[in-house]
């Protein structure tokens, strides 16, 4: 529980390294967490080899949702899109390095949902994407 606000999470929340938008971009997707109104948009640039050339997130919400978005976006730069498609709940929890209850899990996974919905070109970010 005390880990929930580990320094690294607060650091990513207060000083995100990958906050912003990409213009132009190849992929852009945004969604809300209806429970809290957290909002996340993720923009990606993909190079000719199918690697993530650059990535940014934007939005607002609690420390968990924003820090996980920053960490997630940071972690996928340089990775093949095919690998990004395979990311799941465990990948995000590993990045955060904490355990989360069901309510805060939704905050943590919002960015992954948005990312995968964008990468798969879906109209909606559903919970199944991050199982």
């Amino acid at each position: 529980m005390d880990d929930l606000y580990r320094e690294v999470i607060i650091e990513h929340y207060k000083n995100p390294s990958h906050r912003g938008k990409l213009d132009p971009h190849d992929i852009s997707f945004a969604d809300n967490n209806p429970l809290c109104g957290d909002h996340i948009q993720i923009d990606l640039r993909i190079d000719s080899d199918g690697l993530v050339a650059d990535a940014r997130f934007d939005g607002h919400g609690c420390a968990i949702s924003q820090a996980s978005a920053d960490m997630l976006v940071e972690s996928i730069i340089g990775k093949p899109l095919e690998e990004v498609k395979k990311l799941n709940k465990e990948s995000v929890l590993e990045l955060l390095g904490i355990d989360l209850g069901p309510v805060r899990l939704k905050c943590a996974l919002l960015s992954l949902k948005v990312l995968k919905a964008g990468v798969y070109g879906l109209g909606e970010a559903s919970d199944e994407l991050v199982e």
Partner: protein, 408 residues
């Protein structure tokens, strides 16, 4: 009379619990739902142990007992809000259902396209969405009394809206976010002068100060048991008898009928006309016990205590750098302190306070348009009831300082 907090706190068994080892619960979320005194828990327990039977029409001993208890609670509730008769107390599930009852029964019989309904910008979703639905269904028009920067209703704009021949005015007696206690008698009188029927959302008022529906001259008045020391699952719609009598039934089924033929029915008299099916019997009895409990302490004493706590809380919280409080000063509001802390999301505030056993709520508190008005998504909200102490306010303040330090 000053409340004896030591004695009162003993009445609420839950206040003794710890949320984790060594951390006692500090419950500052009574606006969402209040805790329950032992007398309410016992009344419901006794009912199931001794008297449980379905009400009305039964002739056996238990059926008579349960009917008497169920109707006895209605009498108590009627007296509590000074309704002239218990027939005007319709049991519902909660405030939300009470408002929906008016929207489905009264409004669908009386409102047509372009008819004006006046609401306010500080309404809970339960007094917005039923009217949105009626707007979509038959094109009624909606207008809103604006909320000022201070968190009060702008009555000058209200007066202008009234010149447009509104059919209904529906507003909250007390805001669950700003805490604002609205001048209900004045709003109702002005509404009546313009020829409108007036519905009051009393979810936050009836639990916290004395409400007299007759002196207010309210046409409809809605409230929930669970916010006033009673159980969940039961609430009330009070209505003027002439209005209730003129309205078509709401749900159809058993109990709400006088006579049923294969192809027709005659509705029952008040209040049963609006109570179809087996109701929440134990909950009604618990609700009655809650009213007894509140009467025992005295609503004026409760209101005075809450005022003192709120004044203290606002004063202490205002001193914290980065804290922004919403709503008017303590003399114009009830025991609600909604706030933001600069640089920290309200959910994080609530989660970190929870480590110290402090239960506050974070989010839009079912008043999204109001938050939008103030340019925010969410607030953290501490709220107070008769069992809260100044010590608890101090712990809250210390907790907020801890949050600040963590995000420092």
């Amino acid at each position: 009379m000053k409340l004896n907090l030591t004695e009162i706190r003993k009445d609420f068994p839950i206040l003794e619990r710890e949320t984790r080892a060594g951390v006692r619960l500090i419950y500052l979320d009574s606006t969402a739902t209040s805790q329950k005194p032992l007398s309410v828990i016992t009344a419901m327990d006794d009912f199931y142990r001794r008297s449980n039977a379905n009400i009305h029409r039964g002739v056996h001993t238990l059926a008579e007992e349960s009917t008497a208890l169920y109707e006895g609670a209605r009498e108590k509730i009627a007296k509590f809000i000074n309704a002239s008769s218990a027939r005007q107390i319709i049991y519902t599930r909660n405030t939300t259902e009470s408002i929906n009852l008016v929207a489905y029964s009264w409004a669908r019989a009386n409102l047509k396209q372009d008819d004006l309904v006046i609401l306010t910008e500080m309404e809970h979703h339960s007094n917005l969405v039923p009217w949105h639905m009626l707007h979509a269904e038959r094109g009624i028009e909606l207008e809103f009394i604006p909320v000022t920067e201070e968190g009060l209703l702008d009555l000058e704009t209200y007066k202008i809206l009234l010149s447009r021949n509104p059919k209904l005015v529906s507003f909250t007696h007390m805001s669950n976010v700003l805490g604002t206690i609205n001048p209900a008698a004045q709003i109702i009188r002005l509404g009546h002068e313009a020829g409108a029927v007036v519905l009051v959302d009393g979810a936050q008022s009836v639990p916290h100060f004395a409400v007299d529906v007759q002196s207010l001259d309210a046409d409809f008045y809605a409230f929930s048991s669970h916010k006033m020391c009673g159980p969940t699952g039961i609430g009330v719609l009070y209505g003027k008898a002439t209005l209730l009598e003129s309205m078509p039934p709401f749900l159809g089924g058993g109990d709400m009928i006088k006579e049923v033929k294969l192809r027709s029915f005659r509705p029952n008299t008040l209040p049963h006309k609006f109570e179809a099916g087996t109701p929440a019997i134990a909950e009604a009895i618990g609700f009655g016990a809650a009213v007894d409990y509140l009467n025992g302490i005295g609503m004026d004493n409760i209101a005075a205590h809450e005022h003192e706590i709120t004044e203290y809380a606002l004063e202490r919280m205002e001193e914290i750098p980065g804290v922004k409080l919403f709503g008017p000063s303590a003399d114009k509001k009830g025991g609600v302190a909604a706030f933001t802390l600069e640089g920290v999301h309200p959910h994080d505030v609530a989660q970190i306070l929870d480590r110290d056993g402090i239960a506050v709520r974070a989010g839009h508190h079912c008043a999204q348009p109001l938050h939008e008005k103030f340019g925010i998504q969410a607030t953290s909200r501490a709220s107070f009831y008769m069992y809260n102490t100044k010590d608890e306010v101090d712990l809250l303040v210390n907790g907020i300082y801890k949050v600040k330090k963590m995000f420092g």
